[in-house]
């Protein structure tokens, strides 16, 4: 007893020199429209304690020793996470095969990185974790969860390995106002949609006479022309946006994106070498159909539920129109003021259209041939 007491007393003298971090694992889950990507980082020291990975027992864990046991490591992680995932339609999502094992370095050493996808038929919605990793060997272990829903909102949670079920909801309902904002945002960051509109509006304040341009004298015919063009664009893209959102028509996005680029190119070229002067709304309507499919892909990224799509679809479209109206109003004010300047036809209309055409040509090549000429675009 005396001996034990001495040991104890010595222990006290060491002082409370708190040091390193306790054991943590990191879970990074990101949901999207068709499922969820899962990444789990587990400290190699914890894995070795649990699975005796250091096969030659030399106190050093090598890549070969680790790689050989990837299957067991994955099994340990899956049991430890106890994860189930269902989609918006209530269907069970299925985990795909483990991606090749990787390594990452964190502040307290190296971690094994396990990555896989969960495939769902509808957007992932209900996630349950039954976290009990290392519950038997280290109750102070924690799982640090970083969860990103399909709308991009992230949350962080610390999980104790107590085996309690942690239910989490992924597809947080979008408020209609936020979808409206998304629509405005989408048109404002969508340079290709904006340039298409600008290419159509640049010549609107001019009148073509023979081989050259002359400033328009009256505002009314100009506004009527603009109204026609903008309405045609709006009507056309609303039709295809709805068709795509309800999955009645969904053309491959590479085709859609390429055609959008082509539409910008043609609109700009028509300013440089005018072929179609009257009734430009027809051209606008045709290409507006293509742009609508482009908007649909942005709406899909929000991961909305199909049965509750009508309201958000309307709000998203309204947002697109509002954003578009703001662009049109600002731009028309500007070019109406500039139209009498002698350099307008040559430098603003000609130069601007040339620049737009060049950019559109690059996009067209990139998107149709899947190249990266101007990255990141």
């Amino acid at each position: 007893m005396k001996r034990a007491l001495m040991v104890w007393l010595l222990l006290l003298c060491a002082g409370a020199a708190q040091a390193h971090k306790a054991s943590d694992a990191y879970l990074i889950l990101e949901a999207d429209a068709t499922g969820l990507s899962e990444r789990v980082d587990i400290a190699l020291r914890d894995l070795d304690r649990e699975l005796q990975l250091d096969a030659d027992d030399n106190g050093q864990l090598s890549w070969g020793e680790l790689r050989a046991r990837a299957g067991e490591i994955d099994q340990l992680a899956r049991q430890g996470l106890g994860m189930t995932l269902t989609d918006a339609d209530g269907g069970r999502c299925t985990p795909q095969a483990l991606a090749p094992l990787q390594i990452d370095t964190r502040s307290d050493g190296r971690y094994a990185v396990l990555q896989r996808r969960w495939q769902c038929r509808a957007p992932a919605q209900d996630l349950t974790l039954n976290y009990r990793l290392f519950a038997a060997s280290d109750p102070t272990h924690r799982g640090v969860l970083s969860l990103r829903g399909p709308a991009g909102a992230a949350q962080t949670l610390v999980l104790a390995p107590d085996g309690h079920a942690t239910p989490l909801r992924l597809g947080a309902a979008h408020s209609l106002l936020s979808v409206l904002r998304d629509g405005v945002h989408h048109i404002w960051i969508g340079l290709d949609h904006i340039l298409f509109l600008l290419a159509l509006l640049l010549p609107a304040v001019l009148v073509r006479e023979g081989n050259h341009w002359r400033p328009a004298a009256h505002l009314k015919p100009v506004l009527l022309d603009v109204l026609g063009v903008v309405s045609a664009f709006t009507l056309a893209h609303s039709i295809t946006l709805a068709l795509a959102a309800f999955e009645i028509l969904s053309p491959p996005s590479r085709w859609v994106e390429s055609l959008i680029a082509a539409s910008v190119l043609l609109a700009a070229l028509n300013n440089l070498w005018p072929l179609l002067l009257h009734g430009r709304w027809r051209l606008t309507f045709a290409f507006g159909l293509v742009h609508g499919f482009g908007f649909a892909s942005a709406l899909r990224e929000l991961g909305l539920r199909r049965e509750a799509l009508a309201g958000p679809l309307l709000m998203f479209n309204l947002g697109v129109e509002l954003g578009q109206l703001a662009v049109v109003a600002g731009f028309m004010g500007l070019v109406w003021g500039l139209r009498r300047r002698p350099g307008y036809p040559r430098w603003v209309l000609g130069g601007g259209s040339l620049l737009i055409a060049l950019l559109a040509l690059v996009w067209l090549l990139e998107r149709s041939l899947d190249l990266d000429l101007l990255s990141p675009r």
Partner: protein
């Protein structure tokens, strides 16, 4: 355009300190230096005596090497009893010590109070609980209560256990005397106690060194070195490093810290270095103009963030304050952390830290005044004496 959202995600992730994973080039590449292998925690619980022995050994390793995973192991070994409201006294004592190491001082005190109040606690365990409690109360600045605990230990209550307990009680009293400025008598008492065969030599050397430092005596250095030789603990090494840092001996301080684990390659050492030592290394390298200074600072910052992420942030206030004071530097953060730490720990090192943070010209004025007032009040009530700042304020 479709790539924009994914770019944003990447940016956000990189801001959150997530490096990208990689695939090693060859099977021979060594990824991790492992601590010595221990027998796995058995799935079926052990009998209490074996579990206690193993858990105690794990706690000792946790304190000597600064590895909290050992605390997790100890808790796993004690799992069948850990969550009981009133576990067997031996378990409860160990639980209190572990809570103390995790800086959960209030919970630790609760267990210790219960042990001392319980009639069923065996005398030897009672003595250990008393001493642990005295150390905790002293750490928290509750000196009158600590003094009565030490007085009981030095008296006849535990005489049946032999002279060791009495010696510890007297050392504990001498330490309190030294904190309250009874320097000469405390130094003499400690020197005399060191001659007892039952005396905790390393502890006494450390206390004498700390007292000499507070008195501004040069003999502190030799005492620190002797204490480190007697018991190479992280605490003592950090204390000696601080002594060297205060004297602008940057290279010596860095060498002392790096000598902590001399058997490994230097690269591995930075990662394996306990926070308290890495902190001293970062200060020494920064002040000495070493090229690796920013690497050490970044490593520390990452550790603080990782700890905060798991929800243990407040346990590191002392290190965070020192980091903001001497490494980053950030006057506002230094003062805020020093104040948070002062609410938790009130040792001379904590007072010194708070005083320094409150002296910074860039510190927020009202907060600095508040900190100085808290220090002054504590000094009045406790009688704390420290030549490093008592004379200057």
């Amino acid at each position: 355009m479709r790539r924009l959202p994914s770019l944003l995600v990447l940016l956000l992730l990189s801001l959150r300190g997530l490096a990208s994973p990689y695939t090693p080039q060859s099977d021979e590449e060594v990824l991790e230096q492992l601590p010595r292998r221990l027998a796995a925690v058995p799935r079926q619980g052990l009998a209490l005596p074996q579990a206690l022995g193993l858990a105690q050994a794990a706690l000792q390793r946790a304190r000597q090497e600064g590895d909290p995973r050992e605390l997790g192991r100890a808790q796993a070994l004690l799992a069948p009893w850990w969550h009981l409201p009133a576990p067997p006294p031996a378990v409860r004592l160990l639980r209190a010590s572990m809570l103390q190491t995790q800086h959960r001082f209030d919970a630790a005190l609760q267990d210790l109070d219960a042990l001392l109040a319980g009639a069923a606690t065996p005398l030897a365990l009672r003595a250990q609980a008393e001493l642990t409690r005295a150390a905790l109360l002293q750490l928290r600045g509750r000196w009158p209560e600590a003094r009565s605990a030490c007085t009981r230990l030095a008296g006849l209550s535990y005489a049946a256990l032999g002279a060791a307990v009495q010696v510890h009680g007297r050392v504990c009293l001498a330490e309190l005397d030294s904190l309250q400025g009874r320097n000469e008598s405390a130094a003499a008492a400690l020197a005399q106690l060191a001659r007892y065969p039952q005396a905790p030599a390393a502890w006494i050397l450390l206390l004498r060194a700390e007292l000499a430092e507070r008195r501004g005596l040069a003999e502190a250095e030799a005492l620190y070195r002797q204490a480190l030789q007697a018991e190479p603990s992280i605490y003592t090494r950090a204390a000696l490093a601080d002594w060297l840092l205060a004297r602008r001996r940057w290279a010596e301080a860095a060498a002392l810290v790096l000598a902590h684990q001399s058997d490994q390659a230097e690269q591995a050492e930075l990662v394996r270095l306990p926070d308290a030592l890495l902190l001293r290394l970062a200060i020494a390298w920064r002040a000495g103009g070493d090229a690796r200074a920013s690497e050490a600072a970044a490593q520390l910052q990452e550790r603080f963030e990782a700890t905060a992420l798991r929800g243990d942030g407040s346990a590191h206030a002392r290190e965070r304050a020192r980091y903001a004071l001497d490494v980053r530097p950030d006057a506002g953060e230094a003062l805020q952390q020093a104040i948070a730490n002062w609410a938790l720990q009130r040792e001379p090192a904590d007072a010194w830290l708070l005083w320094r943070a409150a002296q910074l010209p860039a510190a927020p004025k009202p907060l600095a005044a508040q900190a100085r007032q808290a220090l002054e009040q504590f000094r009045r009530e406790s009688g704390m004496q420290d030549a490093r700042w008592s004379a200057a304020s």
